[in-house]
């Protein structure tokens, strides 16, 4: 068992390396090649003036393909890491911030790669992968005793409910990260009209699609959390800060969906709502640092 925990950590290190490299490749691919121009002009007075300029050109497809390959490696290594830890612990690793964030890295990578295939768009990786790398950095910075597999305290000993409740939360956060990336790229593509970026309406649609997965998932998180609260405390809603911040997030995505379907909002305004909504997601995710409350066993 000890060696499984250790091996799982080792594969997390491998996933980190793959994801960092992948993020770099995606960035190079999305930004494009920067071409510097030096033009020497001789003026009528006989002096030479050198003008410098830079222009962007699309990057080679090869680097994009390489980025995707590395992202798949990252996801595969992270998947092995989670699998080994699952075997060692006898349950899915979802019970402290190390485990929760490791699973987030896996799901965010996987959700992103699925969307990349669905839409045939690679440039989004330049935003999603750095987000995943930031999360991996956070995991590395966590106290190292969280890397150990701990036994569950009585309040968390409800396997099926905990597994679905928490993994749905991670799925929701992962899809919201993809929606956020699409909104950011939309704002960039819409503002500067970079020719090799995907079209704004594609990005707008991609963000919406991601939310159509994340929003029901978040609804399930709230519902299953309520069912669990009822099993454990006899009331399905406690106004606990973690609950209410998830509710806040849910309401913001609700506004996004209603403005979109009933008032036909698209584009900048929808993208702006998605940015606010993702800020709420981040707040909910890391809320344990500033709230006490019933979710305070996250091991932060």
């Amino acid at each position: 068992m000890e060696s499984l925990v250790r091996l799982s950590f080792y594969f997390f290190a491998a996933a980190t390396i793959a994801l960092v490299t992948s993020a770099a490749c995606y960035l190079v691919y999305a930004v494009g090649r920067i071409r510097l121009r030096h033009t020497a002009l001789t003026t009528s007075a006989g002096t030479t003036v050198v003008s410098h300029g830079a222009s962007l050109e699309p990057a080679s497809l090869g680097i994009g393909r390489f980025a995707t390959l590395l992202a798949w490696f990252g996801v595969a290594f992270q998947g092995i890491s989670i699998l080994l830890r699952t075997i060692a612990a006898g349950r899915l690793p979802l019970s402290n911030m190390y485990e929760f964030s490791s699973t987030f890295i896996l799901l965010a990578g996987l959700v992103y790669l699925v969307f990349e295939r669905w839409y045939g768009v690679r440039q989004l990786g330049a935003i999603v992968l750095p987000l995943i790398v930031a999360m991996a950095t956070y995991v590395w910075l966590l106290p190292s005793d969280l890397r150990e597999v701990d036994a569950l305290i009585p309040a968390l000993q409800n396997r099926p409910l905990m597994t679905i409740h928490v993994s749905m939360a991670i799925l929701a956060y992962a899809t919201f990260a993809v929606a956020f990336a699409a909104a950011v790229l939309f704002l960039i593509a819409n503002r500067w009209r970079v020719t090799w970026l995907p079209g704004p309406d594609l990005l707008d649609d991609l963000a919406f699609r991601a939310v159509t997965i994340g929003f029901p998932a978040l609804s399930l998180v709230l519902i299953l959390g309520s069912v669990w609260a009822y099993r454990a405390w006899g009331t399905y809603w406690q106004w606990d800060p973690k609950e209410t911040s998830a509710l806040f997030t849910w309401l913001i995505y609700g506004v996004y969906l209603h403005t979109r379907s009933l008032r036909g909002w698209r584009g900048n305004r929808s993208a702006a709502i998605l940015l606010v909504a993702f800020a709420a997601v981040v707040f909910t995710y890391f809320g344990n640092y500033i709230f006490g409350g019933l979710h305070a066993y996250g091991g932060v």
């Binding site: 309040a155 079209g199 029901p216 069912v227 006899g234 506004v255 379907s261």
Partner: protein, 493 residues
């Protein structure tokens, strides 16, 4: 996708009450108002959430002038406040009225969609497909309808001045899914109200081991705690907290069972939850006549004694004896603030003190004594026996008749969302017009600014072409610039 018109009311001058009712109805119908209400609710939820965090403190520390405001923020229990309840009520009414208001339009779009379209709509569509055929217009139209039906589209045709207008759609009933979803939201709120009005909840139902307590709340139940166990792992982390209880009604045992955290015990519609535990003391108190005043266990904890503020302590009033009794246990951690400990009790001893209670108390001044486990002592007129130390368990007990509503609502909510998102109503409009060589059909989806719907349409157009043996010519218009203004979703005439 029909837009609710917000135009001025009809020109006829109307009576004032009618106008007021109309205004209110319009307010609740308005999508814009509904979105504003959700936004206000979100802000209140945010304010309430942050109140439970360190954020207000940080604001007060960085901006000292905001301190009074922050204090008021801390004092304001947002989720039990009137504004919060009001916005929930307004939102619930708005959801109901908004949804009812949309019903006729939605039913119209499902049952009697507009079939006739315009060449302008097809020309300006962001994507469209054209088929040229040697057949006559009605024949081509009928082939198109068959091909679309084979792709599980419903089709309706209408002839108009020699041309055939076609309407095809798929998953039209998914438009109805908005009703269960919004009904679910109202049901959840209703469940909360039902639970609060007809249920009860006792957060601190404390029973010492071996003692019997009355539950109350009109249940007629009494509960005896037979055993409390806290089981640990060898590294000291808790494994299980368990209470074994006997539930009695009118002195008869009606149920026995145990509960652990996450595994409550249900009896009828009353649910018992393991919540906490602590230290108790079993006592027997008799008066001078030998009458037993108290023979039970008393939980230690919530009361603080001045004699040693950080030790477990308890207090009770013995009204028939005219005294109040306080009990102090040994300090659990003697190293912590030893200067406050005036008693310095040994383990296994307890300090008992009686004070005068009421005007005709038999004693004039407090009397106290230290007693060892198993010993008896005279305190004033009373004879007191410190039987033994015990544990107590804290249960939560609740009856919540709102739960079935909540469960039903959850199913409706998730189901409604899934149908809305994963089976979206897809619509295609077409005109088949005669040409010198036969006829030509032009098809376009109702899919403005909807990338997925356009891709789905292109696939469907390809399938249709294969089925009728014609090549489809796809044409795409650059979508108009996005983002500067919202546009209204209006069905074509």
């Amino acid at each position: 996708m029909t837009h609710v018109s917000l135009d001025r009311p009809a020109v006829n001058p109307r009576a004032l009450p009618e106008l007021v009712v109309d205004r209110i109805w319009r307010f609740f119908c308005s999508v814009r108002a509904a979105i504003a209400e959700i936004a206000i609710l979100a802000l209140l939820v945010l304010a309430g959430t942050l109140r439970g965090s360190s954020v207000p403190r940080t604001i007060a520390d960085t901006l000292p002038f905001a301190t009074p405001l922050v204090e008021r923020w801390y004092a304001w229990d947002v989720f039990r406040s009137l504004p919060f309840a009001s916005i929930l009520t307004v939102l619930a009414v708005a959801i109901a009225i908004c949804t009812i208001n949309r019903a006729p339009g939605i039913w119209q779009a499902i049952a009697h969609p507009t079939v006739v379209t315009t060449h302008g709509f097809l020309r300006n569509a962001e994507t469209s497909a054209t088929f040229a055929s040697a057949l006559s217009a009605p024949e081509l139209a009928s082939q198109l309808q068959d091909a679309l039906r084979a792709g599980r589209y419903r089709t309706i045709g209408e002839e108009r001045s020699g041309e055939v207008h076609l309407y095809a759609d798929r998953w039209r009933y998914s438009r109805l899914a908005t009703f269960p979803f919004h009904l679910a939201l109202i049901m959840i709120l209703a469940g909360g109200i039902v639970g609060a009005a007809w249920g009860f909840r006792d957060n601190d139902f404390i029973i010492p081991e071996g003692s019997v307590r009355e539950l109350g709340h009109g249940t007629g139940l009494t509960v005896r705690l037979d055993d409390f166990s806290e089981v640990y792992r060898e590294d000291g982390t808790p494994l299980v907290y368990r209470s074994d209880v006997t539930i009695m009604k009118n002195g008869d045992t009606v149920n026995t069972g145990s509960m652990t955290v996450n595994n409550p015990l249900t009896f009828g519609d009353v649910v018992f939850y393991q919540s906490g535990f602590g230290q108790a003391v079993a006592l027997k108190i008799e008066d001078s006549a030998g009458e037993v005043l108290f023979d039970d266990a008393l939980p230690l904890g919530p009361f603080q004694s001045k004699l040693n503020p950080d030790a477990p302590a308890a207090r009770m009033d013995l009204v028939p004896a005219g005294v109040a009794m306080s009990i102090v246990a040994p300090d659990e951690n003697p190293a912590n603030a030893p200067e406050l400990d005036t008693l310095r009790l040994r383990p296994g001893d307890m300090f008992f003190m009686i004070r005068p209670l009421g005007a005709d108390s038999p004693i004039a001044a407090p009397i106290g004594a230290t007693v060892s486990q198993g010993e008896s002592i005279e305190l004033g007129d009373l004879s007191l026996t410190f039987v033994r130390e015990r544990r107590f368990s804290v249960l939560q007990v609740a009856r919540n008749p709102g739960i079935p509503l909540f469960i039903a609502a959850s199913v409706l909510l998730v189901g409604g969302l899934a149908v809305t998102f994963y089976f979206p109503h897809r619509r295609i409009r077409a005109i088949v017009s005669p040409t010198p060589g036969g006829s030509e059909a032009q098809l376009a989806p109702v899919a403005r600014r909807d990338w997925s719907a356009k891709r789905v349409f292109e696939q469907v157009a390809g399938d249709v072409g294969r089925r009728i043996g014609l090549e489809s010519h796809l044409r795409m218009n650059e979508p108009s610039p996005i983002g500067e203004a919202s546009y209204r979703v209006v069905a074509p005439p």
